[in-house]
């Protein structure tokens, strides 16, 4: 405990000395998020400096081993780092699917060579990754995927198409599920491949969503040649890696239900709806907000508890389905209340006053939370089968 307290002091001092003031203000726009990558354009010197300093410390990926560019922190130390960053209002220096999804999978399944090649570049924000999972014909039934990778000696020949590839048009590399044995049962003919998005035959087409944003693409592969060294794990054993990575994706998306912006819903509503004797003037909305806040706090504690249970070896492997399901449904409920509290102001779609319709667009974006990374219904199937042991599920 004493060591942790001194770690906290050192961490605070370091953050105060090294986090530029601009990086301590809440993010206002999408551009405030740094995703790194070959074509990264830093919005400001402060943003670049902040990434460089944190990457040098290994704190873009605090819990990864030092030899792969991580900070080598324990779980408790990493928690302290997050707390201190929150206390100072520090922005995340780097957001990336490499950090959240591929990294953990490579640490578990990757060869030593693959770890040394890819992990440090993820940690430094040099390579931006995208995820090639869903296909036009394979959504909830992901294992039915059809993108083929044929054995051509030293290389695979990849043909097919992926959909909902987040930021594929901005990504440098893709981690991709491909079918390497079409005759095997569907879960047993899938492999996990890594390749460069600049390879010949790769093209992307952004998809505009109801929020007006285009975070997703359809991605096409036409005779793309991929070196065999880019196969992660064993041939035809990619489904295990896919599932492992999905638990990380679920934790990431589920975690959205636990994060709250600077102002609480109660504060937002107090400003728009007004108060009567110190209570929100709209008493029905007040009750709904309180009910939501109760669930949100209990959910945050559940994320803490899941971590604490994992630490003492009591975690259930399907707990990420619980967090994903509950967290995303909670976030959708929260955004409905944000819209309700915001009233007609929240309906604005353009213009400076509404910051280009930030609230309405965030509300619409939240609807994808319970679809992406496995729908709520798929999570409930997993819980029914793997935790409750219900038959035939």
């Amino acid at each position: 405990m004493e060591n942790l307290e001194s770690f906290r002091k050192e961490t605070r001092a370091w953050l105060e000395a090294n986090c530029p003031p601009e990086m301590r203000r809440p993010s206002q726009t999408e551009e405030d998020t740094c995703w790194g990558g070959r074509h990264c354009v830093f919005q400001s010197d402060a943003q670049r400096l902040w990434l460089e300093r944190m990457a040098k410390k290994g704190w873009t990926v605090p819990e990864w081993p030092r030899e792969y560019g991580g900070g080598g922190l324990t779980r408790d130390e990493a928690k302290i780092l997050r707390q201190e960053m929150r206390a100072l209002g520090c922005r995340s220096p780097l957001d990336s699917f490499g950090i959240w999804m591929l990294g953990p999978a490579l640490l578990k399944y990757g060869s030593e060579e693959q770890k040394r090649e890819h992990l440090p570049k993820i940690a430094r924000g040099e390579i931006r990754w995208c995820q090639g999972y869903s296909e036009p014909g394979s959504g909830s039934d992901l294992a039915s995927l059809q993108t083929r990778a044929e054995d051509k000696g030293d290389q695979f020949l990849v043909n097919g198409s992926k959909i909902w590839t987040s930021y594929a048009d901005k990504a440098d590399w893709i981690f991709c599920l491909v079918r390497t044995d079409p005759s095997a049962p569907k879960h047993e003919g899938i492999s996990f491949l890594l390749f460069d998005m600049e390879s010949a035959g790769v093209s992307t087409k952004p998809i505009t969503l109801i929020s007006g944003a285009s975070p997703f693409c359809q991605t096409f592969f036409d005779d793309v040649l991929v070196p065999k060294a880019n196969l992660v794990g064993k041939l035809n054993k990619g489904w295990d890696i896919a599932k492992y990575l999905l638990t990380h994706e679920r934790d990431m998306i589920g975690g959205m239900g636990g994060t709250s912006e600077n102002r609480s819903l109660g504060q937002i509503a107090t400003e728009t709806v007004g108060t009567d004797n110190g209570m929100l003037a709209d008493t029905v909305l007040r009750g709904q907000i309180a009910a939501l806040e109760i669930d949100a706090l209990a959910f945050r504690l559940t994320m803490d508890r899941a971590g604490d249970m994992a630490k003492v070896g009591q975690a259930h492997p399907a707990v990420s389905s619980l967090l994903k399901y509950y967290g995303t449904e909670l976030n959708k409920r929260r955004m409905e209340l944000v819209m309700s509290a915001g009233g007609m102001d929240a309906l604005e779609w353009e213009g400076e006053r509404s910051r280009e319709g930030r609230t309405a667009r965030a509300w619409l974006r939240s609807k994808a939370n319970s679809i992406e990374g496995g729908t709520s219904e798929v999570q409930l199937n997993i819980i029914a089968k793997r935790i409750l042991g219900l038959p035939g599920a």
Binding site: S264, G266, Q267, A269, T270, T275, G278, M279, L280, R286, G287, I289, A290, A291, E293, I294, D295, L297, A298, F299, L301, T302, D304, R305, D308, M309, K311, V312, Q314, L322, Y325, Y326, E377, Q379, L380, N381, I383, A384, I387, L388, G389, L390, P391, G392, A393
Partner: protein, 379 residues
């Protein structure tokens, strides 16, 4: 603090579970009900609790108790919820012991705590006066009379009220009903002149009573804590009770849920186990999530009572509200998924519904606690 039970707490849970399964299964509750037991609980079983130290679980070791915390008391409550066991554990070992240990003076602690530990005293708190929990609306008056006080009024839903030897009474010494100022806690002997208890049998076959105070004279040394400023002490005791009830609901809903999932696997219709139907699978999976999320909040609330007793209000409200709602969902789904048999008195599942309704209502239902949280958050 990590949100998991430590080794000692896990051992306490396992011991309590084993003991209650053997000595106080649901058949025990049925026997008390069907024989219309005059006490409404088993004195022999309570003696066993006393011998295991449970009566003094929260009593400091200086007064002969185990000196454990609210997490441990909650562990026992959860197991009592699993078997629906009626006992004075909540009234005496949690509510009264907390009130005296936290708000009492040395003399009062020395007088009463060892008696609680030894099982010589059934004690309880008398707070509510109206159908819904509103402690600030206390109207029972304690008027100054000589060097002491004279209490007049009535209390409702006093746990174990008809068997209690000692009552801790919230009374108004100043101000108007609705105000938190002007409340005083008193320790009253149940045999005091003018004090009358009327047992009120309730839906769940646990003990409650109406108590009337007809000019009950109490001395100045019967005041527990400060005159006119008893609100904080009362809130503390109520928070302990709320968190304990939330733990009981976690146990009751967990047991009802386990029985329901087992039934889904066993009951066949249309030629297959009904648990194969996705309509039921998704409801069961959703309920599982609700119960897990509640469990986190309840454990945090109990830990907070141990770490910072005076600042536990908000998290206790979260826990009590969550537990009330998720346990209600659990027992409703339990009866529905059991179908016709779930409606029969012979089958146990309906007993869980009855107990949870009472736990939900006691010391504030989910709406009360949502309102309280909103107030604490100033909206």
């Amino acid at each position: 603090m990590a949100l998991v039970l430590n080794d000692e707490q896990t051992m306490l849970r396992d011991n309590a579970r084993g003991f209650l399964a053997k000595n106080a299964p649901i058949a025990h509750l049925r026997a008390l009900r069907d024989t219309r037991d005059a006490d409404g609980f088993s004195r022999a079983l309570w003696k066993d609790f006393v011998e295991m130290g449970w009566a003094g679980i929260l009593v400091p070791q200086d007064f002969g108790g185990l000196g454990l915390g609210h997490v441990e008391a909650g562990v026992v409550m959860e197991e009592l919820g699993r078997t629906l066991t009626p006992s004075p554990f909540l009234s005496t070992a949690i509510l009264a012991a907390t009130a005296i240990a936290r708000a009492g003076n040395d003399q009062q602690k020395k007088n009463y705590l060892p008696q609680i530990v030894a099982g010589e005293l059934i004690a309880t708190i008398a707070v509510d006066e109206t159908a819904k929990h509103h402690p600030e609306k206390t109207a029972l008056t304690a008027a100054r009379a000589g060097s002491g006080f004279k209490l007049s009024g009535a209390k409702t839903f006093v746990l174990d009220g008809h068997v209690a030897n000692l009552l801790i009474v919230a009374a108004r010494t100043a101000g108007k009903p609705g105000e938190t100022n002007g409340l005083t806690l008193f320790i009253a002997d149940a045999s005091a002149r003018g004090l009358r208890a009327e047992r009120t049998p309730t839906v769940d076959t646990h003990n409650a009573a109406r108590i009337t105070f007809d000019d009950v004279n109490l001395g100045a040394d019967n005041v527990l804590g400060k005159v006119d400023a008893g609100w904080d002490a009362l809130e503390g005791v109520l928070n302990a009770g709320r968190a304990a009830l939330a733990a009981e609901m976690v146990g009751a809903s967990d047991e009802a849920f386990s029985r329901t999932v087992a039934y889904l696997k066993e009951r066949k219709q249309f030629g297959k186990p009904i648990g194969e139907f996705q309509a039921l699978q998704h409801r069961a999976a959703h309920l599982y999530c609700e119960l897990e999320v509640t469990r986190s909040a309840v454990l945090k609330a109990l830990q907070t009572l141990d770490d910072s007793y005076d600042r536990a209000g908000a998290i206790v409200s979260v826990a009590k509200a969550r537990a009330g709602l998720s346990a209600t969902l659990a027992v409703q789904e339990a009866v529905q998924m059991h179908g016709g048999i779930g409606m029969t008195d012979e089958f146990d599942i309906g007993l869980f519904m009855k107990r949870v309704r009472v736990c939900q209502e006691l010391f504030g239902d989910a709406n009360f606690h949502a309102d309280r949280l909103a107030r604490l958050s100033r909206y």
